[in-house]
């Protein structure tokens, strides 16, 4: 989870608690934080990635240097989420097809894959219902190399997914979108915890602390780039 590590803005517990306290009181640091979470760089990176995976006929909602806010921003976030869910859904599909998993690991991959498919359908429907254009399903490629490595990769993908949703929470304007995003966020977290346990890692992998780390959009997109087939 190096992406989330890089994005972690604070160190120990006291600093973290203090930072939250400060953010609650200080409007300028809140704005600074918001800029960090949904800033120009991320929107730009997203546009590049969308162009790469969507092909020339596809134009997504993010594509300008200035990140959209409000309604447009929410749809950009929904499309970002949809892209991640496409990746995860494809991942589990290929994993199950590979025949490399067996027993409880295979059952888990099937169950989690079904959840990701449901996330895809829900996000795509929400975007279309809003009259916006969903991103195209990217062509994916994953290094599948036996059960152990697959589970480790799955854990990595799910931990990143959870961090990605958390990173967008404060940028979402619509309460409905937020409710949906949060209810997916905690399911990604459940997947991540189960896969961490399956790979002998801690279910709550934040160095003993009780606060999860958000990942910013640009870092997430950078991390998933190798999984997008060019």
């Amino acid at each position: 989870m190096s992406a989330a590590d890089r994005d972690e803005p604070t160190g120990d517990d006291a600093v973290r608690a203090g930072a939250m306290h400060r953010l609650l009181r200080d409007d300028s640091s809140r704005k600074r934080f918001l800029k960090m979470t949904g800033g120009t760089a991320a929107a730009g990176a997203f546009a590049v990635l969308l162009a790469a995976c969507a092909g020339e006929e596809e134009e997504a909602t993010v594509g300008k240097d200035v990140p959209p806010t409000g309604r447009a921003g929410d749809f950009a976030i929904l499309n970002f989420a949809l892209m991640l869910e496409y990746l995860e859904s494809d991942f589990y599909e290929k994993v199950v097809e590979s025949g490399m998993l067996s027993g409880p690991a295979l059952d888990m991959a099937k169950a989690f894959g079904e959840h990701e498919r449901e996330h895809v359908v829900t996000l795509k429907t929400a975007i279309e219902a809003g009259g916006e254009k969903p991103v195209a399903r990217p062509r994916t490629t994953f290094p599948l190399d036996g059960q152990r490595e697959i589970l480790r990769l799955a854990a990595q993908v799910e931990n990143l997914g959870a961090a990605a949703y958390l990173g967008q929470a404060t940028a979402i304007q619509s309460e409905d979108v937020l409710v949906t995003a949060l209810s997916i966020h905690t399911v990604e977290a459940r997947h991540a915890a189960a896969l961490n346990i399956a790979t002998d890692q801690e279910p709550v992998p934040f160095g003993g602390a009780g606060l999860a780390r958000p990942a910013m959009m640009a870092a997430v997109l950078e991390t998933v780039k190798p999984f997008i087939a060019s």
Binding site: A17, A162, L166, R190, G210
Partner: protein, 205 residues
């Protein structure tokens, strides 16, 4: 191993109750059956002040007091193996949540609610795991329900960072109980008043 009230309630079909509200109630002891509005003196105190973000954050604080104390009491039962490790780690994480939310309440201009005394119907590792799983699942639903009502982005981020950990704890305890770590594609939400009613049987008079 499963506490009887939990198992019994899980089999009851309750007419007209949403699945999530039912889950919360089925989760808890028979004391929770007397309805979603039976909120005790403690809960009213939590709601009497502030309003807005401070009220929601105090609600979260109360749930984290409860969870932290649950792990503390569980560890006194003499848990063993992996469950003991989980309980030890989770107790620390809940304490972290208590600290974060206490500061957040103050930051939002409220007064943190005092910590109540809790009592849990746990007597062995099995009943600990079953109730723990339920408390964490309930915590996830409660935070997911209350979080979107927060006005401050910083408070929302803090709640999000906490709820992700709650979900991870829930998944780990579910695995320890031989249950599916993620039973559905979406986690449902519950209202604060229902979560408080569900917590009430564990608060000592």
């Amino acid at each position: 191993m499963t506490p009887q009230p939990v198992r019994r309630l899980g089999a009851i079909e309750v007419h007209g109750m949403t699945r999530s509200a039912f889950l919360v109630r089925s989760a808890l002891t028979a004391g929770a059956l007397y309805g979603g509005h039976a909120v005790g003196p403690f809960a009213r105190r939590a709601f009497a002040q502030g309003g807005g973000d401070a009220e929601i954050l105090n609600f979260g604080l109360m749930l984290q007091y409860l969870e932290a104390d649950f792990y503390r009491q569980g560890l006194e039962l003499g848990l063993t193996g992996q469950v003991r490790t989980l309980a030890t780690d989770f107790r620390e994480q809940e304490q972290d949540h208590v600290t974060t939310l206490t500061e957040a309440v103050t930051g939002a201009g409220g007064r943190p609610v005092p910590k109540p005394r809790f009592e849990f119907p746990i007597e062995d590792q099995g009943s600990f795991v079953t109730l723990g799983m339920t408390l964490e699942d309930t915590g996830v639903m409660a935070f997911n329900g209350a979080g979107p009502k927060l006005k401050s982005e910083a408070a929302l981020l803090g709640a999000g960072r906490i709820v992700q950990v709650e979900a991870r704890q829930a998944a780990a305890l579910r695995l320890a109980a031989m249950e599916k770590p993620a039973p559905d594609a979406f986690d449902e939400t519950i209202e604060m008043k229902d979560a408080l009613a569900a917590a009430k049987p564990f608060i000592e008079k």
